[in-house]
Symmetry: C2
Subunit: 446 residues, 2 copies
C-alpha cells in the first residue's frame, strides 16, 4: 500500500465561511489497471489509518488483475494522516465539527472527480465503491447519495440499520452470545455466570483478580471492577467479530476460529467454583490478548489495534452515528443493560460538548427504505454481531444481500484462504460478477 | 395560503458545533385531503416568501381535490419569515454560512418526517415534491438525495444543468432573443440596436434619457448609463420568463403575451433615429413596469416583485449556485459579454467575503448523469430562457421531460386558464397521471 500525493480538499464542503483546506491521504495501486476502460475499485475509508484497511482488504488486491482494475484507498478525514486541522483536529468540538459521514462522502466524491479528471486514462473508468463495516456503510451511502460518482457499491458487514427504531437493540449481543454458545459446550453459560463471580470476588479479592488476569494496572476499587467487566465484555464482542477460520491479525493477532479457542477454556459444568471459573476466563482472555505469547500483562485500557481511531469514532457516535445496543442477560450472555439515550447524550455532552441527534441518520440515509436505490451488494457474516443491523435480504434485483453463515466481520474482504468456508468463496465470486455487470452497464450508458 | 405552527429545526444539519435552532415556516391546506392514503403535495420553497409561491402555484390547488391531497408549502431558510438568526441572518458571511441548497433539502426532509410523524393520518401518505425554478431544482434534488422522503418530484422549469461546463453559457440569452424575434417584426433587431443608441445619447443626453424613461433617479454619469443598460437587459430577460398567454402578475402585473405587447413598440425599420428608437424602447419598458398605469416613475434599482430575496439568491450564486451566462450579440440581441468566473469570484469576495466553488454543484448533484434516479418529471417551456439549462429529453422511463413549446417560466404550475396553449393542458394532465402512478407504486411497496 503506497501513498500518492495527497489531495487538497475543502474542510467544509457544505459551508463557505470556513474556507480552509487540508490534505487528504489516499493510496493507489495501478499495476493491474487496464487503462482503456479498466474500472477503479475505490475503498471508502473508515475510522482508522488507511494503510491498515489497505492491508486488510486482500479481496481488492486479489480481484484487481481479473478486473484490470486500479485500486484506490481513500482515507477518512480525522483518521490516520488526514487531519483537517493538523494536531488541533481533536482539540475541541469546534475543530471536530467537520468530522461527519456527510463530509467524508463529499471528500470521496471530490476525490473521484479529481482522479477521473487528472489520472491518465481514468476519465471514462467506472468506479466501484468497496468498504467494510463503517466503510461499508459509506460505500453504500456513496452510491445512494452520489450515484454518478460510483456505478455500484460493495457494502461488507455494513450495519446501516443499526440506528434507533430500525432493529432491536439486543440483536447485536444476542449474535455474539450465539457464536459462543455454538463454539463449545457451556461456553455462553459460563461467561454469563462470570459476571456474578467477578462481583463476588471483587468485594474481597481484587488482588487475586488482578493477579489471575495478569493486569498491567491492578484493580483498586469497585469502579475498577466495573470497568474490568466492560473490558471483558468488549473482548468477547471483538472475538465474535473476528472469528475467522484461520490465524489472522486484524484487531489482534489470533488463532484460527478464536472463539472455539476461547471456549476450550470455558467448558466447565455447573459444579465449578467461582475461582476456577475465573481462572478459565483469564485463560480465555489470553487467547485474545496473548496469542503471540509476547504480552507481558493485559492492558484493560484497550481492546484492539491502535490503527483504529476510537476517539473519532466515539465523537461520530456522539453526533450522527447513534447505534443503540442493549443486553438482557437472557437471550445474551451479558449483564442486563438497557439502551439509555439520555445517559448517552449526557456523556457526549460531558466529553465533547455535543449532543447526538437520534433520528438524523434515518432522515439522512432513508432508514429501512432502500427501494429507490440500485447496484448495492450488502454482504454479511452470520457470526458477525454487526449483521444484526445489516441488510440480509434482497431489496430488489440490484440491491442485494449476500449472507455468509460461517463468516465473521467482512470476511469476504480478506484474501482467500484454503480454510475459507465455501460460502465466502461463493460470495466473492458473486461480488465480482456484479462488479463486471456494473462495468458493462456503465459502458452501455449514453 | 395559511400559516401553520412553525417547525423548530437545526440551523446546521451537517455539524454539531452550531447547535442552535430556528423556526421554519410552512403552509398547509388540507381541505381536500383524504386522510386514508391521500398523498401530500410538498412545495419545495425557493428564494422568496413562501406565501408568494403559494399564491402562484395554482396547479397544486387545482389538483388537490382530484388527488385527495394535502398541500404543504415549505419556506426556504433565509427567505420570507424563516430566518435562522432573525434580523442578523444576513449580517455577515458567518451568519449566512447555513444558506445552502443542502441545508434546505435537509430542512425539507426533516419537515416531511415531522409531518408524517405528527399529522393525524399522514404516516403512510406518499409525498410528492413540487417546485418551480430553483424550487424545481430542489424538488428534483430532494428526490435524488432523499428518495425515501418523496416518492417523486415535479421539477418545473428547473435549470439543473445551468452549471459550469454543462450547457453553453449563451443559450439563456439566445432563448430570450428568440422570444422577442418571434413576437414582432424587427423586435430583436431594434433591441440589439438600442445599446449603441443609448451609448451615443448617453454621451450628451443623460437628461433626455432620464426624462424619456421617466426614471425615478435621473442618470448622472457614464456608470449610471451602464447600470441603466443592465436594468433594461434584465427587463427583457424577465419579460421572456413571464411571457404568459393571459394577463398575470408574477414578477410584475402584465398584459397577456407581454413580449408581443413590448414588441408592438419596437417594430421600426432601419431608418428610425436613435431618439425615436429609444422612445419606443421606453414605451416597451413601460409595458413591464407600468401595466397598471399606477407607476409614477421607473425605478432602475429593481426589476421584479419584492417577494423574491435577491440578496440571498446572490449569496447562493456566489457560493454553490454558479450559473454561467454570457452574450455574444450575434445569436442574441444583447451586448457581447463573456462569462468571467474570476471577476465574478472577486465580486463575491468583495460583497460577501466568500468565493464560489465552480464545480461543487456538479459533484454534489451528479451533473448531467441522472441515470440512477427515478420518478422525476422535468417540465420546461420553450419560451423560458431557463429551459436552456433544463432537462428537455427523457432520461429513462421514470425520469422524463415534458416540453411546452408556447410555455414561459413554469407555466404548468399556474392555475389553468382558457387562454392556455393546448400543450400546457396536456402537460398538467400528464403530470397528474405520473403523480397517481407514483402513489400507486408507493402503496404497492413493502
Amino acid at each position: 500500500c503506497h501513498s500518492k500525493p495527497t489531495l487538497v480538499i475543502s474542510i467544509d464542503h457544505f459551508g463557505f465561511f470556513e474556507n480552509g483546506t487540508f490534505k487528504q491521504r489516499y493510496l493507489v495501486a495501478d499495476q493491474h489497471w487496464h487503462q482503456a476502460g479498466g474500472p477503479i475499485l475505490f475503498y471508502t475509508g473508515n475510522e482508522g489509518d488507511i494503510t491498515w484497511f489497505c492491508n486488510n482488504t486482500g479481496f481488492m488486491w486479489q480481484v484487481a488483475e481479473e478486473l484490470g482494475a486500479m485500486l484506490v484507498f481513500a482515507e477518512h478525514r480525522y483518521y490516520g494522516d488526514s487531519m483537517p486541522f493538523g494536531p488541533d483536529s481533536y482539540s475541541d468540538s469546534k475543530h471536530l465539527n467537520y468530522l461527519s459521514s456527510e463530509q467524508a462522502l463529499a471528500d470521496f466524491a471530490v476525490l473521484i472527480r479529481e482522479l477521473k479528471g487528472s489520472w491518465p486514462g481514468a476519465r471514462s473508468s467506472a468506479v466501484i465503491a468497496v468498504g467494510g463495516s463503517y466503510g461499508g456503510m459509506l460505500a453504500a451511502w456513496l452510491r445512494m447519495k452520489y450515484p454518478s460518482a460510483v456505478v455500484g457499491a460493495l457494502a461488507a458487514s455494513a450495519p446501516i440499520w443499526q440506528f434507533p427504531g430500525m432493529v432491536p437493540c439486543g440483536d447485536f449481543h444476542r449474535i455474539v452470545s450465539q457464536d459462543f454458545a455454538s463454539s463449545g459446550p457451556n461456553c455462553d453459560v459460563n461467561i454469563r455466570r462470570s459476571w456474578g463471580a467477578i462481583d463476588k470476588i471483587a468485594s474481597t479479592g481484587l488482588a487475586w483478580l488482578s493477579g489471575t488476569f495478569s493486569l498491567c494496572a491492578p484493580l483498586k476499587s469497585r469502579p475498577d471492577s466495573v470497568a474490568f467487566k466492560e473490558w471483558l465484555q468488549e473482548t468477547w464482542v471483538n472475538l465474535a467479530m473476528v472469528d475467522y477460520p484461520y490465524e489472522a491479525s486484524f484487531l489482534q493477532p489470533l488463532p484460527a476460529w478464536p472463539v472455539q479457542a476461547v471456549c476450550r477454556h470455558l467448558g466447565f459444568d455447573s459444579s465449578v467454583s467461582d475461582y476456577q471459573l475465573l481462572q478459565g476466563v483469564s485463560e480465555a482472555a489470553r487467547v485474545y490478548y496473548n496469542h503471540t505469547g509476547a504480552t507481558a500483562c493485559l492492558n484493560t485500557s484497550s481492546t484492539a489495534t491502535g490503527s483504529l481511531g476510537f476517539l473519532g469514532w466515539y465523537y461520530q457516535a456522539c453526533t450522527e452515528m447513534v447505534m443503540p445496543l442493549c443486553t438482557d442477560g437472557v437471550q445474551d450472555m451479558f449483564e442486563p443493560q438497557a439502551w439509555d439515550f439520555q445517559a448517552f447524550s449526557d456523556e457526549c455532552q460531558a466529553l465533547f460538548g455535543v449532543r447526538p441527534r437520534a433520528s438524523w441518520a434515518e432522515t439522512l440515509y432513508g432508514g429501512k427504505d432502500l427501494s429507490a436505490h440500485s447496484n448495492i451488494i450488502f454482504s454479511n457474516g452470520g457470526l458477525d454481531p454487526w449483521s444484526g443491523g445489516g441488510v440480509t435480504r434482497n431489496i430488489s434485483d440490484s440491491v442485494v444481500a449476500i449472507v455468509i453463515p460461517q463468516g465473521a466481520h467482512h470476511l469476504d474482504l480478506r484474501y482467500d484462504n484454503e480454510r475459507d468456508p465455501p460460502a465466502v468463496r461463493g460470495a466473492r465470486a458473486l461480488e465480482v460478477d456484479y462488479f463486471k455487470a456494473w462495468v458493462r452497464q456503465a459502458r452501455r450508458a449514453p
